[in-house]
């Protein structure tokens, strides 16, 4: 079986686990929509520009929620050893986790963006493209950091501490693409971020999960 086959088998496993457990996605939906409800009441009057910035805060923290759970099954049941021992390329583990996490995030964003439209108005095509690019970057970098955190003693604290500084450029690019009249350079910046972190995570994952 090819590298793509390994990724497919591992991603399918993660999707099945979520389908059976229904632990992560419902919590993410409640969190994302709940945050937007809070923002709706926190922002008096017409504040759609400020709301666009807060949408990105909601996306960032929802992604963090997904990443906190990304290796939950492996952590609780010692399963990372089994995956590391398997003869597939270790980067396939990272890619499969990233694909599954992106799928969860996209699903949640369907609800979150609908809620945003309801509370604050619609978003342009550039903003939706920025959300899609941000999902890739957040998950590419975030899954690597989640794997680093999973072996640590204070793992619940370690992931946010590592993730937020790394995710900051995504916030800058996302907000920029959403509020400016010329979003192209921000979308380009997000695409560059995705490429850099995807390559770094793909190449570095093996060293994170092995001694």
């Amino acid at each position: 079986m090819s590298y793509v086959g390994d990724v497919a088998a591992l991603a399918r496993k993660d999707l099945l686990l979520e389908l059976r457990g229904r632990e992560t996605v419902p919590a993410m939906v409640v969190f994302a929509v709940g945050a937007l409800v809070v923002f709706r009441f926190a922002l008096p009057g017409e504040q759609s520009e400020a709301a666009k910035g807060l949408l990105w805060v909601a996306i960032l923290f929802t992604a963090l929620l997904a990443l906190t759970r990304a290796f939950a099954a492996e952590r609780d049941q010692g399963l990372l050893d089994a995956l590391v021992l398997a003869p597939c390329d270790r980067s396939a583990i990272w890619l499969a986790k990233a694909v599954a996490t992106i799928a969860f995030l996209v699903l949640v964003e369907v609800f979150a963006l609908a809620a945003f439209w309801l509370f604050f108005g619609g978003l342009g095509v550039a903003a939706l493209a920025a959300v899609a690019l941000a999902d890739v970057g957040l998950c590419a970098a975030g899954v690597l950091l989640a794997a680093m955190a999973v072996g640590g003693r204070a793992r619940e604290l370690l992931l946010p501490v590592l993730f937020l500084p790394v995710a900051l450029p995504v916030l800058v690019g996302g907000v920029g693409a959403t509020v400016t009249d010329d979003p192209a350079r921000y979308l380009g910046f997000l695409a560059l971020y995705d490429a850099v972190f995807a390559i770094l995570a793909w190449a570095g994952f093996e060293y994170v999960v092995t001694e």
Binding site: L16, D81, A82, V84, L85, A86
Partner: protein, 194 residues
């Protein structure tokens, strides 16, 4: 097959293994005994490639795809069924005719009737049997078994003895246990860790 010289492993200031010399030929059967905390699991993790030595030299002359490792934990996803778990590993290990192989192992370890049940509903003994199926799935050349009799009933222990008997001479076996009397198959070498 396995050659270690002055092998040592430390975790911070704690010494788990110190100055271990070891030779296990291809087809050999090494029985590792010792009290809790004597380094049996650490040795098996080193042999599996899951940990790196902090001193000495270790050579395991087999590729990762040909190692079967039975750990303390069953290394199975509790939310997935027995078949789904074995199918995942069979795909990752590129097992030929995986459905037939999975079916054969489940029947051999008397888990066929529970094949579509989530592993989380299994008893500890059933989990250990399924973990053995996972370990043997890809017909490994090197079998590393950490306390394999844990939670097995008499019937399960007999099944395991039968597997060990069949593997003896054909595969290289390293079995770590604190209770060597349960092993019916004679080892070719013994190592007692202090």
């Amino acid at each position: 097959m396995i050659r270690a010289r002055a092998l040592s492993k430390r975790f911070g200031t704690r010494v788990a293994l110190a100055g271990l010399d070891l030779d296990v030929p291809r087809g050999g059967f090494l029985l590792v005994t010792g009290r809790n905390g004597s380094g049996k699991t650490t040795l098996l993790r080193l042999l599996a490639g899951l940990a790196a030595p902090t001193g000495g030299a270790l050579e395991v002359a087999t590729e990762r795809a040909r190692v079967g490792f039975l750990a303390h934990e069953p290394l199975l996803y509790r939310q997935l069924t027995a078949v789904e778990n074995l199918d995942l590993y069979a795909r990752l290990y590129r097992v030929a005719e995986r459905r037939e192989r999975i079916g054969m192992l489940l029947e051999r370890f008397d888990l066929w009737d529970a094949r579509h049940d989530p592993v989380g509903t299994f008893s500890r003994g059933m989990l250990q049997r399924l973990a053995l199926c996972r370990t043997l799935l890809h017909e490994p050349e090197l079998l590393l078994l950490d306390e394999p009799f844990n939670a097995l009933d008499v019937e399960g222990a007999t099944l395991l003895d039968r597997e060990l008997e069949a593997a003896r001479g054909e595969r290289t076996l390293v079995v770590a246990t604190h209770d060597p009397d349960r092993l019916a198959v004679p080892a070719t070498a013994r190592l007692r860790l202090a």
